[in-house]
Amino acid sequence: MANDRRAQLLSGNEACVRGALAAGVRFFAGYPITPSTEIAEGLAAALPKVGGTFIQMEDEIASMGAVIGASLAGVKAMTATSGPGFSLKQENIGFAAMAEVPCVIVDVQRYGPSTGLPTSPAQGDIMQARWGTHGDHPIIALMPASVRETFDLTVEAFNLAEELRTPVILLLDEIVGHMRERVELPPDESVHVVNRTKPVEDPETFQPYKPGPNLVPPMPAFGDGYHFHVTGLAHDESGFPTGRGQDADRLVRRLHAKIQNRKPPVARAEEWQLEDAEIVVVAAGSVARSARAAVREARVRGIKAGLLRPITAWPFPENEVREAARRAAAMIVPELNLGQIVREVERVSGGETKIVPLNRIDAELITPAEILERIQEVAAHVD
């Protein structure tokens, strides 16, 4: 296997750049911020080569606005940021959700709150990804655990965004973003790429927000001659604001339903050694790596442990967690925060199992040993 040239060493941020290019990104607007900057830097170099556009805007708000504008003009568009910038983008993310503008927002999580420890890892933005903007907006957020998965989920983020006309958040953490590991990337041709559905109706009768069979309205680009109107106000199928509560109700419920009802479900988790597991570790992102090592070691020691790894932070894989909770004696939820995923686990498990949080916020990754220790403690009380 010497001189294996298909395999290469890439960081998560670099893999994100590659994934975006494979998915067909043609526009990036951003503002530098550690630990996400390499994504901007990679696309600044790569986009002009494919005839795309890179722009560093005056701030994150403007970046998010430009991304929405570009997407409406018909190109696949993305931005990348970290905590403070993610906070600033929230208002416009809500616009993208409301006006159904496909786009990808990468948040490489760093230690917060506030400026925090700018170069240290954390998973403190998971709830923010869901609830950061005002009002009841829907969102999708994906949480890769490896460099290769960062590539894959970047592609999937674009695919979901385009298919469902919705902003999709790619939630990295500093560890996944910055670590380099061996990956083999598929050739671009073999990557499954989804493009938005364009309308076929006559511009005169076209209703830009009339949903298709999957609840998603086909989407023309500016300049295609449809003369359509886009607004963040509640609107009806024509796209114009009506001020009527019923129209708003119908719209907002559909925005949620198009994601909730999608087949196959958007929500998804990896299950590993779960069939007979008595103790289930629920972990996402970089922490899932430690969790997997701990579960393997626990099995070696004869403990029936398993791993449930949410791949989508949002929608949260409720069914998978509920199911596992029904069967498990305990669930351990290690996170690099004071307890965010664990709240969802608590919520959906309905008291069916004992839930044990394991939180670390000292800027270090939770180790396999820590998780193993917790597994052993719990196992000691299980029977």
Binding site: I61, M64, H227
Partner: protein
């Protein structure tokens, strides 16, 4: 083109009459924009109208183009994305004084700095209309507003000066009273390659007028007539004579490389193409 034809061709007639108050300048400016678009001969199918949030920013909803009603203050950021993604589109931004100069001030100066080919028309009614009469950065110092019951403390921007200093390459000021000149100014802005900016002194009789003893739209237009000095006439006046007046007309024009064109060169360079 007759008004009937103009309305038929350029407006979403079924959305009219509009929601603006009696005598509001927004309708006059929207009419001027439509006439200017017609006069400049832009391709309607390839034109995008972008606005922020405010009474004025409702204008695109009445206009038969691709229209984008964004978030408060961010019209220029969205417009920048549209233009960069498809430089062949004509992108026009309609915005209020609060939208453009308060919350949106940063996007304004940066878009001007980049000299990106956008045409910006500011509906400057000296007040926040939509939210009911608070002061804006263009409200003349000492005016009354619901958030300035003792008169405003803030000095107001000379927005045209600011845009010029930021790098805008076409800068003009018009009024709703001088409607014909306004059409010409906007039309010239549409013809200019680069960042073009037209401030329109307008009227909000509902809030600015009521609070500041300008009882009606008519009184406010009278005020414009009396205080506006065309740029040529202004050149002959001393600063003292100009005090309390404002200058209208084309205030600045320069030729400079336009952003998307320079970017196209970068693309060529990155691809190793000759230029």
């Amino acid at each position: 083109m007759s008004i009937e034809e103009l309305l038929e061709r350029y407006t979403r007639r079924d959305k009219l009459p509009h929601i603006w108050c009696p005598g509001c300048g927004n309708g006059i400016i929207m009419g001027a924009v439509i006439r200017a678009l017609d006069q400049a001969g832009v391709d309607q199918k390839k034109t995008v109208i972008v606005s922020g949030i405010g009474c004025s920013s409702r204008a695109p909803g009445y206009m038969k183009f691709d229209t984008l009603h964004t978030t408060h203050g961010r019209a220029l950021a969205y417009a920048t994305g549209v233009k960069l993604a498809r430089p062949e589109l004509k992108v026009v931004v309609l915005t209020g004084d609060g939208d453009c100069a308060a919350i949106g001030g940063n996007h304004l100066i940066h878009a001007a700095r980049r000299n990106i080919d956008l045409t910006v028309v500011v509906f400057n009614n000296d007040i926040y209309g939509m939210t009911g009469g608070q002061y804006s950065p263009l409200t003349p110092q000492g005016s009354y507003a619901t958030t300035a019951p003792y008169g405003t403390v803030d000095r107001n921007f000379d927005l045209c000066e600011l845009v010029k200093a930021a790098g805008g390459t076409y800068v003009a000021r018009g009024t709703t009273y001088h409607t014909r000149m306004l059409i010409d100014l906007i039309s010239a802005g549409l013809g200019h390659k680069g960042f073009s900016f037209i401030e329109v002194v307008s009227q909000c009789p509902m809030y600015y007028g009521r609070k500041n003893k300008l009882a009606s739209a008519v009184a406010m237009l009278e005020w414009q007539k009396e205080h506006a000095v065309p740029v040529k006439a202004a050149a002959k006046l001393t600063p003292e004579q100009l005090k309390g007046k404002f200058v209208i007309g084309e205030l600045h024009r320069e030729e400079a490389p336009e952003y998307t064109e320079v970017y196209a060169e970068v693309v060529a360079r990155a691809r190793g193409e000759e230029k």
